[in-house]
Symmetry: C2
C-alpha cells in the first residue's frame, strides 16, 4: 500500500464514496489507487469547474460530502468559481489536489504555481501532506473538516511523493466537533422579539427545507413574524404542502419594499442580507434604518437546535404552519416569455423534482410561480458566479438518482461550464436541461440602466449581447452526446419538457425567449 491507497481507503472508511475528478500526471498514483477500489464512484468532468459545482450540489442534496480530484494550481484555479459558490452555499467539499513531488518544487517547472495561495483563497481548512505515513491521518482530518461547522471547503494538497511512497494504514474520520449554540438569554430575547409588530424571521442553509423549515413556519404562525429567505438560497422547499416563505427579491427597490415595515430581523443560518452589488447613492442594506438586526444563529452554528429552542420558547411546537395550497396553473400557450416559462414549470415539474434555477434574468420570478407546483426542492445561485447550474445538475442527480432533476439556465451562463452535459450523458444522469436563449447577458443590460447609463453603442453591445453568431444549443448538446430540441412557443416547450421528464437520462431544450 502506498500513500495514495491509504488515502482512498481512508475516504471510503470515512463514508466518502464519490469523487468528481479531473486528474493530471501528478495524480496518477491516486488514480491507480482509485482503480483498485471500484466501490469508489469516479465521475470524470472535462473541466474542473464541473467537479466543484457537482460537489457543491451533491452536498446540498445529500447533506454529506463528496470529493474532488484536481491537478495543481491551474486545476484548482479552474475549480475556483464553483468552489466560491459552494463556500457561499455552506457546502462541505473534500478537495484532493495533486502537487509536484516535494523535491521537484525546488525548480521552476512549467506547472509550478502558488498552489497554497490558491487554496487559501477559498478553503476554510487546508493541509499539505508532508510524508506518506501522514496521508491517511491528513485525509481523515480533511473529511472531518469538510463536515464541520455545517459544511466547509476542506482541501488536502497531496505531493506526488507522499502518494507513491509506501504507507501502512488507513484512518476513519472522527465526527466533527459539536456546533455552537446561542445562549439561552438570546433565545428568550428572540422569542419575545418575534411576537412584536414588524418582526421578521430570516432563514438560511438547511433551515430552508425539511423539518427545520417546518419548525420555523410554526414559529412564524404562532408569533405573527414574517418568514423570509435571502435572495441567494442553497436549497429551498417549494410547491404544494411546503411552508410559505418569501424569497427576498434581487433588485434593490423590490428588496427594500419586501422589508418595508420590518422592526427586527432575526437571522438563523445566514449573514445579514445585503444588496448583490452597490450602486451610486444607494445603501447596501435593504432594511429600514431603525430595524434591529440579531444574528442569533450564524451559518456555522447549530441551526436545528436553535429552531427547536425558539419553538419551545414561543410555544409553537404544535402550531400549524401556513403551507402552499394553490392549485397548479394551466400550461400557458403562445409565444415564449420568462413569466410563462415559470408557469409552465409550475404546471409540469413532477413530484419530488430537484429544480436548479440559473435563469439569471428570467428566473427571478420562478419562486413565486413554483409555490403552486408539486412538492420540489429548488437549488439556487449562492455565490453569484455563473456557470454553477449544469455542474450542479450533475451533483444533484448523482446524489439523488431516484429524483428527476430539471435545470434551467440562461444562455450566457450555460456557456461557462457546458462540458457537464457530457458527464450527464456518460453517467446516464436523469437531468432535463432548459436553456433560456435571450441572446445576451440580459441582466447586464438591466444593470447598465441601474448604474445610470441609458442607450449605448457598438462597444457596449459587443459586451452585453451574445449574438452574431447565434449560439445553436441544440448542436452544442448533441456534440456533447445529449439529445436536444428547440422551442419558440409554449406549446412546443410544454411537449418537449413533458417528453424530457418522461424519458430517463439527460436531454436539453433550447427555449428561445426574450
Amino acid at each position: 500500500m502506498n500513500g495514495a491507497e491509504s488515502l482512498v481507503k481512508t475516504l471510503l472508511a470515512s463514508g466518502v464514496d464519490t469523487v468528481f475528478a479531473n486528474p493530471g500526471t501528478s495524480e496518477m498514483h491516486f488514480v491507480g489507487a482509485l482503480d483498485s477500489h471500484p466501490e469508489m464512484r469516479c465521475i470524470l468532468c472535462l473541466f474542473e469547474g464541473g467537479t466543484s459545482g457537482a460537489a457543491d450540489s451533491y452536498f446540498r442534496m445529500k447533506r454529506d460530502v463528496s470529493a474532488t480530484l484536481l491537478h495543481l494550481a491551474p486545476g484548482f484555479g479552474n475549480a475556483f468559481a464553483n468552489m466560491h459558490n459552494g463556500r457561499k452555499a455552506g457546502s462541505g467539499i473534500v478537495n484532493i489536489v495533486g502537487e509536484h513531488a516535494t523535491h521537484h518544487l525546488a525548480y521552476e517547472s512549467p506547472l509550478k504555481g502558488d498552489l497554497d495561495g490558491m487554496v487559501a483563497t477559498v478553503s476554510q481548512w487546508s493541509r499539505r501532506s508532508t510524508d506518506a505515513p501522514s496521508v491517511a491521518r491528513d485525509g481523515a482530518e480533511t473529511v472531518r473538516a469538510a463536515r464541520a461547522l455545517n459544511g466547509q471547503i476542506a482541501t488536502l494538497v497531496l505531493p506526488a511523493d507522499t502518494a507513491w511512497t509506501p504507507a501502512e494504514t488507513h484512518v476513519t474520520a472522527a465526527a466533527p466537533a459539536p456546533l455552537h449554540r446561542p445562549e439561552p438569554e438570546r433565545i428568550d430575547a428572540a422569542a419575545r422579539r418575534l411576537s412584536q409588530l414588524g418582526a421578521v424571521l430570516m432563514l438560511g442553509r438547511h433551515a430552508l427545507f425539511g423539518e427545520d423549515l417546518e419548525l420555523a413556519a410554526r414559529i412564524a404562525a404562532k408569533t405573527g413574524a414574517r418568514l423570509f429567505s435571502d435572495t441567494a438560497i442553497s436549497r429551498l422547499s417549494l410547491g404544494a404542502g411546503a411552508p410559505r416563505i418569501t424569497q427576498l427579491p434581487y433588485a434593490v427597490p423590490q428588496k427594500a419594499a419586501a422589508l418595508e415595515g420590518a422592526s427586527s430581523i432575526t437571522l438563523v443560518g445566514l449573514h445579514r442580507p445585503v444588496t448583490f452589488f452597490a450602486y451610486p447613492g444607494t445603501s447596501s442594506l435593504p432594511e429600514p434604518a431603525d430595524c434591529e438586526i440579531d444574528d442569533l444563529c450564524r451559518p456555522e452554528m447549530d441551526i436545528s437546535w436553535t429552531l427547536r429552542a425558539l419553538a419551545d420558547a414561543t410555544g409553537a411546537q404544535s402550531t400549524a404552519p401556513a403551507v402552499n395550497d394553490m392549485p397548479p396553473p394551466a400550461v400557458p400557450t403562445g409565444p415564449a416569455t420568462g413569466e410563462k416559462t415559470g408557469l409552465a414549470l409550475a404546471a409540469l415539474l413532477p413530484d419530488n423534482a430537484i429544480f436548479l434555477n440559473e435563469a439569471v434574468s428570467n428566473g427571478r420570478n420562478y419562486a413565486s410561480a413554483l409555490r403552486a407546483a408539486r412538492p420540489i426542492d429548488v437549488l439556487g445561485s449562492t455565490g453569484g458566479s455563473i456557470g454553477w447550474c449544469l455542474p450542479g445538475a450533475v451533483g444533484a442527480a448523482t446524489a439523488c438518482p431516484d429524483r428527476k432533476v430539471v435545470a434551467v439556465t440562461g444562455d450566457g451562463s450555460a456557456m461557462y461550464t457546458m462540458q457537464s452535459l457530457w458527464t450527464m450523458a456518460r453517467e446516464g444522469l436523469d437531468v432535463t436541461v432548459v436553456v433560456l436563449a435571450n441572446r445576451g447577458y440580459q441582466i447586464l443590460r438591466g444593470e447598465m440602466t441601474n448604474v445610470g447609463i441609458r442607450g449605448y453603442g457598438a462597444n457596449a453591445s459587443a459586451m452585453l449581447d451574445v449574438e452574431n453568431p447565434t449560439l445553436d444549443f441544440v448542436a452544442l448538446a448533441r456534440g456533447h452526446g445529449v439529445p436536444a430540441t428547440r422551442a419558440e412557443d409554449m406549446e412546443t416547450f410544454a411537449r418537449a419538457l413533458t417528453d424530457g421528464i418522461a424519458a430517463e437520462g439527460p436531454s436539453l431544450i433550447e427555449l428561445v425567449c426574450p
Copy 2:
C-alpha cells in the same frame, strides 16, 4: 469624466487599444466608458479563460500588451489557468478587475471573495485603486508594470466607486525601467565556455525568433556550441530559412539523451530546464551530473543585449548561421496518425503562418517535422495548463490580422475553453482549428505507465478515456457558429486543411487519429 473613463483614456494614451472582456455588474461603468471610445477594440469572450489566453498570445505575437476585463474574484479565478500560462511565457498582460464598491466590502455579499489573494497568486505586480482621482495614475503604472522586465502579469483592482466617481485627467504610461544586463566578466566567461567541447547554448523568450535567434545561431556556428530551446516555448521560428535549434523533448529519457555529453549549459532568457513532472527514482534534472549550469541572462534581463555582447565576445557577428533547408515533405496518405499529421502540416502550412500546438501527445514530434515547412512561428504551451490553444488562437489572430493562424489541439484540451470558437466567428478571425480526436487523455495513459502502473480497470479508464459518449466536434463547432468537417484519413484531412487555409475566417477540422 469619471474614474472609469479616465482609465480608458489612460489605456488608449498609453498604446493599449485592445481589451479581451468578460464583464459583470461591477464593471458596468467601465463598459460605459469603453462604449464612448470606439477606438478601443472590445472582444467579448464567453468565459474568462478566453480572455487571459488571448492576451497571452497577443503579447507573444505583438510584443506589446493588451488588457483583460474581469469580474471580481470568481472571474479572476476562471482566468487563472491561462494567466499562469501567460506568466510562464513571460507575457505582459494588463488585467482590469472590477471589484465591489469599497463601502460594500463591509458586508458578506454573494460575490465577495478573496480577490486580493487570487490576484497575488499569479500577478507579478498589482494595485487596488483607492479613489477615482488615483485611477488614471494607477492605470498608467499597471501598463508600465506589464511592459517591465520583458513582460509581466500586472493587475489593477478597480472598486466600482472609484469607477463611477468623477475624475479629471488621464495619464500616459512611462516607459519601463531599463533591463538588467550580465556583468562583462560573465559575458567573457560564457564566451570562452561556449567554445569548449560539449557546450550548450539554451534560449528562451524572444531569443527564439527574429534577430535574437539569428544572432544566437551565429554564436553557435562560430563556437560549435549546440543550440537548444526548452521543451516549453512561448514562440519559436521554424521552417525554411529559420536557424536550426533543437527543442528539448518532453519525455525524461529523451530529454536526458538530448543533453548527453553536455559539459555546460549557458542559459539566455530562461530558467534551468527540468522535467515537467517528477517520477519515482528519477532526477528532476535532465543534464549530466557534472554539467555546469550558468544562468547568464535570466528571463527578466536584457536578452537582446546579452546575445549581442556574446556575439561580439565570440567574434560571431558575421558567421553564417546554420538554417533549415529541407524541402517540404509530400502530403501523406492513408489512415491518419500523429506522425503523418505533422508531415501534412509541414507540407501545407502557408508562408508566415502562426501555428499553435496543443496536440498534447501527438504534437511532440511536430517541431522536427516543421523544420521542413515554409517559414512559420510556432506558439507552444508554457505553463502546462491545457486549454490555452483556442484562446491563444484568438489572441494571435487579433494581433496579426494579416497572417493565417492554424491551431492544433487534442480533444481533451479542446474541451476546456471551447467558447473561443464563438469569439473567432464573431470577430471573423482567420483561424483554422484542427482537433486531434484520440478519444482520451492520451498523455495520461502514457503517464500511468511512467509511474509504474500497468494495466488498469474501470475507474482508471473512466478518468483517462474521453469516450462514451463520443464527442462530436463538428456539431460543437457549428453550435459555436464555426463551419466544420471531419476527416479520418490523410487525403480528406489534406483537402480540408487546404480549404480551411484558403478560406478567410474560422473553420474546424476534427481529425480522428489514434
